[in-house]
């Protein structure tokens, strides 16, 4: 297996982008990544794109070819493949791109992630997101996506004494980071009171515990590490990649409060990289709901099971804490265009490891982790990146 490096990154603004189409968003992110990398179109061996549900959000399937076409590569006949794993689609597309170079089949690959969620109404977007849950044995009975995470939250509170205030502190921290990110949907800090008293969505989770509905796209260029320096001054090496699956329905899991797919994916990535959680300088984790960030820092091994709430309260995960989490603002504040999220997490870590994160730069960042989840935890993908 060959080493692979990220040599270019590109991101669109995240938000309610009424004046931008699906095609414009993915072309913009791809073009930025390609220009950033120093490669040319003729160098691209393959493309992978992650999207959860372009079919339901914009009525368009078959977007592998569409993305190559709309990016101007139709007459080069570049192999272009879509990858789907609900909200983990972007992370999975990145992993497929990585494999295709590590295997020796390709030298240079462009990976994209996109979701254009605001072309359908809010309730329709919510329904589409709910298709990531078990349609026949969860959704049929009226449970919503926030409802599933609310049940994780309530059990976590019951078993470990996690508080609503600790959940709120996750939102406050992520908005504080998002305020420093020019690409974020919400570049605005919120108070603990606002986070605690927001409109109830699914008890105990309020609106401020939930990530928003977002349009956006992200892209990265991957290259065989041995060739990376031909194009790029600061290649960022992929040192670990892991993925795991679990029961589609939350109710069938071994433990309601643990995402075993995360534990599995993380262990796979740590083993490959020959590192342990202590070696990591910063992480982008899948905070689709505030409780999800608390579970993530436990399941990734940053803190012991049950101590996630306390860790947030003790400010371990803030920008200047010992383990900064979601320096981009996370899904909560940066926004969560589901298929784009996993790729956007890579963009943030690469930006940090290059030392180009401006006001939200983590000092001396050398190793970063990304954690991208599909559904209520049935799919998880983890990556480890290192500045070389």
């Amino acid at each position: 297996m060959r080493d692979v490096a990220v040599i270019g990154v590109g991101l669109t603004k995240f938000g309610e982008l009424w004046d931008k189409s699906f095609r414009q968003l993915i072309s913009e992110a791809g073009a930025k990544a390609i220009l950033d990398s120093g490669i040319e179109g003729k160098d691209i061996d393959a493309m992978y794109v992650g999207s959860m549900s372009s079919g339901r959000f914009v009525g368009q399937e078959h977007i592998g070819a569409l993305v190559a076409d709309t990016s101007g590569f139709s007459f080069m006949h570049i192999p272009a493949t879509r990858v789907e794993g609900a909200c983990a689609s972007g992370g999975l597309a990145f992993r497929e791109g990585y494999f295709s170079i590590a295997s020796g089949m390709n030298d240079i690959v462009v990976v994209g992630g996109i979701e254009k969620m605001n072309d359908v109404g809010g309730s329709s977007a919510t329904e589409t997101l709910a298709t990531a849950a078990d349609q026949e044995w969860e959704a049929f009975f009226g449970v919503t996506f926030p409802g599933l995470y609310a049940m994780i939250a309530l059990r976590h509170m019951h078993e470990y004494g996690t508080t609503k205030e600790q959940l709120a502190q996750v939102a406050v921290k992520n908005h504080k980071n998002g305020a420093l990110n020019p690409y974020a949907q919400y570049q605005k800090e919120i108070t603990i009171e606002q986070a605690m008293n927001s409109t109830m969505v699914a008890y105990p989770l309020g609106l401020m515990d939930c990530s928003p509905v977002t349009d956006g796209a992200a892209s990265v260029v991957l290259c065989a590490a041995e060739k990376a320096r031909q194009y790029c001054q600061k290649p960022i090496k992929i040192i670990g990649s892991g993925q795991g699956s679990d029961t589609l329905a939350l109710h069938s899991r071994r433990d309601i409060c643990t995402l075993d797919a995360t534990v599995h994916a993380a262990n796979m990535a740590y083993k490959q990289a020959k590192i342990n959680p202590k070696d990591i300088d910063l992480a982008e984790v899948h905070d689709c709901f505030t409780i999800a960030e608390i579970c993530a820092i436990e399941d990734l091994g940053f803190v012991k099971k049950g101590e996630g709430g306390k860790a947030v309260e003790n400010k371990i995960t803030t920008l200047d804490g010992t383990m900064p989490v979601n320096t981009s603002g996370g899904l909560k504040s940066k926004g969560h265009p589901v298929g784009a999220t996993g790729v956007a997490q890579i963009v943030e870590i690469v930006t940090q490891l290059r030392g180009e994160a401006g006001r939200r730069q983590v000092k001396d960042a050398r190793i970063g982790l990304t954690h991208n989840v599909g559904g209520s935890g049935a799919t998880c993908v983890v990556h480890l990146l290192e500045a070389v």
Binding site: S123, F140, F141, G142, V143, G147, I152, R155, M200, H251
Partner: protein, 137 residues
């Protein structure tokens, strides 16, 4: 939800009568019924037998849905829970016949047959199980 009739009709035995299945190799019980046992896999092939659940269990976690899906909008706020059935399987279902403030973890519940949702487009009404507090245990 875009439920279609055949898809619903196929699940009537499970949703109406709480019929799961049992692995003939390790005796674990599953609901909804599985094609194979995830613990025994090939040893369970051809050995998954129907199993009638008694319908009693305990709430292990719950939520109150305040923002519901389209077909449930007129029901909000409503409590929904994950229930550990006495036979072992865990099931998601609504809690009824109980003030939603009174739902709690550890509460004993039993199944009751109710209307689940009405398809606003076709007018079809779907039935299935919900849970109510146990009368006698």
């Amino acid at each position: 939800m875009d439920s279609n009739v055949a898809r619903f009709w196929r699940q009537i035995p499970q949703r109406y009568n709480l019929i799961g299945n049992q692995c003939g190799s390790c005796n674990k019980i599953f609901f909804p019924p599985r094609e194979s046992c995830p613990y025994c896999r090939r040893k369970s092939m051809e050995k998954m037998h129907p199993y009638q659940l008694k319908g009693k269990g305990e709430v292990i976690t719950y939520t109150i849905i305040h923002v519901g899906p389209k077909d449930f909008e007129e029901q909000v706020p409503y409590p929904i829970a994950i229930i550990r059935m006495d036979e072992g399987p865990q099931i998601t279902g609504q809690i009824v016949d109980c003030d939603y403030h009174k739902v709690e973890i550890g509460m004993r519940v039993e199944t009751t047959f109710r209307r689940i949702q009405e398809d606003g487009y076709t007018g079809a009404i779907y039935y299935g199980y919900k849970f109510k507090p146990c009368s006698v245990d």
